[in-house]
Symmetry: C2
């Protein structure tokens, strides 16, 4: 048997066995399979052969052991909101949909931590926490599952202050390729006990094991929160402001760039009336005094860079509307060209190179005559492009590929990374090699050690191992 | 050939070759070998067969390739200040002393980062940074090398505010078991590109590869710094204060506990005159206003817990004296019983269980009639015991082992870890298994994948693989 592809007979036996294991929770209906093989990007769908809906770690372990016995690939699935084909069943197999594992297992108010099943979404968690005075800050655009956010090493608008999933996952329960269950990390805030398996599984995109439970850090809801929208006459003015804020180490909670095109899209889609100019969205967290101090420092920097008007959103409902609009930026961009598909991508560079990286990218887009708003988590040195394109137009696709390749090469030449938060999936395999060189061989060696038959989400991160 | 032990003939050939590779920088003198086989703890020395002093990554790569060809174990060495036998040449072999790799390769003032060779020590780095307004916060007791701090996942007094090496290493250059060189991570503040090899090598104790260069985050020296010493009538009062400060999320920069016995030792050794009472040492960082806010909040909590007297150390030289005394706690404790050896150990628990864990440990020590001050980084839920003992007294050693086993079992039962910052070495192999169970098998699988002949610091972390 070649790695990662099941014989037809083995697949049939496997699915039969899964029906006995999870009666009523196995589907081979084409609509269900298609849904589970399709992500939010332009990547072509790759439906799995079957979809199962386990309710706990033991059931996931049973499913994995069954797939392993029959040599059938397994693809874990959260909410399907990844961007680089992470969930595509490239070699068929069983999709393990964790969305019915939505139990919040334990809230540790005294220790500022929580343990959840992998299918709990970030909004569900924060809803649940509301009365405790605590919150979980990491917020990718979608209402993603916390398991999915863990294995894509997600971040979002708050990462500039609170870090990414890398910093906020304390421990995991993981089902291995043969069905064994391990626990990594723990509830202590630090540990020097052995290899950091937690961080190894964070960002592993389902290729090393299936994360079924996650222990996360929580934070107290700040005493004071203040948000503002700040337009600039030039893109450079906005980016230079962001850079100066970071270099001055002002602990802003959020600092998001939306370029002119994205502001036009967002005004239209979210029915707002902001000036159509390159804009920074800010949020400040802290005590009243700390927030006042941060605001004064940021306003002084923005004024130096030509800002025209700080508009405050002080009421909670105004803030919610503002950040909802930011989170809907992707849908707003898509609405600019009805019927088109989106190709979202991101890079991240050292903060000192951000202005140059964004300016070069903007120039390339314009010269290629493409429609592609720039937006992003500029405090991290991270920004997104969303190419709004017609995948059936080969000329347009060629121009997109060329601009994209130049952007990634530029970011890597600056000491940056080919993806700040979207991950590799199968969309950025070559870019991973360009960034990490021989270190990818070490990743592949680890993959082989943990999944010798290449059954765990095959074809992703390290590609298809032979 | 059995794993991890070279034939005598192979060893001779290997050392001959190393002499040609690094002329004048290979020693087989017994004094040099003994020094390199001895750590600061009570663990028996295990001298290597030879010690080499490379000056760069290429030379380390050459040494590793040579050792690999001859099947000779290699043990990387920084400053020899680890506590769990990390540097012991349990199976002989070549000690690779990185202390002559002391070059600071690049300071990125605009990006708040730095790249150093592995032998640069933390004090050397901060001395070098002095005129930039930046500093590197992680400070284990010793003036350890940054390579050694990386591979033991070190922390120290500032971790409560700035995190540990886990959070502060951005990227690494690593020489693998066969001499190949890889680079992990990068200079971007976040990345979703592939497995997190950086975090895998952080804390790997030289068992997966040899770290030769480290890229680290830096921080701006705060506008205001204030330090205080605060004695309490009871140990519980001090610990409860620490817990409440963390639960209130006051961003103290340092919060260190020294129990009554440690205060007696520290007063004697560092010629101070603090009350001989359980005491917290604090440091506050921030703007003037932020520090004032933090101080007021902490004082209110301390007063609730019976503190008797906040003594301020505002001048830089007073603060230096205070923290030097804290860093010398280990030597102060040893001086309590001239001629004795020290067995330093540490555990870390969720903050809500810290009071119970410390009280139970103190009771056990007293009931067993042992001499063992408690001190630690209580803001992290982490504390140290230092047993001051006579390793030649079997009865005393049995009592120490019993108290220690109870402390670790207690910490694990509370969801904690068997070591917050000292690591596993070969001193805590059983404790690692008790804490992580089958996950240790996954660690061993990774070890085999990266070091199939078990030549990299054999016998540590995952034990001696067969």
């Amino acid at each position: 048997m070649s790695h990662g592809v099941a014989h037809a007979g083995a697949l049939e036996l496997c699915i039969d066995e899964l029906h006995r294991l999870l009666p009523g929770r196995v589907s081979t209906a084409m609509a269900v399979r298609m849904h589970h093989g399709t992500d939010v990007s332009f990547h072509a769908p790759h439906p799995p052969d079957a979809v199962v809906f386990p309710h706990g770690t033991d059931e996931v372990s049973g499913v994995a052991a069954c797939c392993a016995r029959h040599g059938v690939p397994m693809i874990p699935f959260g909410t399907g909101t990844s961007c680089e084909g992470h969930i595509a069943a490239l070699h068929g197999g069983v999709c393990i949909d964790l969305s019915e594992m939505r139990e919040i297992l334990r809230v540790g108010v005294e220790d500022l931590d929580v343990t959840v099943q992998a299918g709990v979404t970030r909004k569900q968690l924060n809803e649940h926490l509301r009365d405790t005075g605590l919150f979980f800050p990491i917020d990718p655009g979608a209402d993603a599952s916390l398991g999915g956010m863990t294995v894509t090493r997600a971040s979002g608008t708050n990462a500039v202050r609170y870090g990414t999933m890398r910093e906020n996952v304390l421990g995991l329960t993981v089902v291995l390729a043969d069905g064994r269950v391990i626990r990594t990390g723990g509830r202590a805030r630090k540990s020097a006990a052995g290899y950091d398996l937690t961080r190894l599984f964070v960002g592993s995109e389902g290729t090393l094991g299936i994360v079924t439970e996650v222990t996360l850090r929580l934070y107290g809801i700040p005493e004071a929160i203040s948000a503002a929208v700040c337009p600039f006459p030039t893109l450079a003015g906005a980016v230079d402001t962001a850079i100066a804020v970071i270099q001055a180490q002002i602990p802003v909670a959020r600092m998001e760039l939306l370029d002119e095109l994205q502001m036009r899209a967002t005004n239209l889609y979210s029915r707002l009336d902001h000036p159509v100019l390159p804009t920074l969205f800010f949020e400040f967290h802290g005590s009243e005094a700390a927030v006042a101090e941060q605001v004064a420092a940021v306003q002084a920097i923005a004024a130096d860079n030509g800002e025209t008007d700080f508009r405050w959103a002080s009421k909670p409902e105004e803030r919610t509307r503002l950040w909802q609009a930011r989170h809907d930026a992707w849908w707003a961009a898509l609405a600019l060209r009805p019927g088109a598909k989106g190709w979202p991508t991101d890079v991240c560079v050292p903060i000192s190179r951000l202005a140059e990286c964004i300016a070069g990218t903007r120039r390339d887009i314009d010269e290629a005559g493409l429609l592609a708003p720039i937006l992003g988590h500029v405090g991290d040195g991270n920004f997104h492009l969303c190419y709004i394109l017609d995948p059936d137009d080969p000329d347009e696709m060629a121009r997109v590929r060329s601009v994209n390749a130049r952007m990634i090469a530029r970011a890597l030449a600056m000491g940056g990374t080919c993806t700040g938060e979207h991950g590799i999936g199968y969309g950025k395999l070559d870019e991973l090699r360009a960034e990490h060189g021989d270190a990818v061989d070490v990743m592949a060696a680890i993959k082989r050690a943990l999944d010798p038959r290449a059954l765990m989400n095959p074809g992703k991160v390290v590609g298809r191992l032979s």
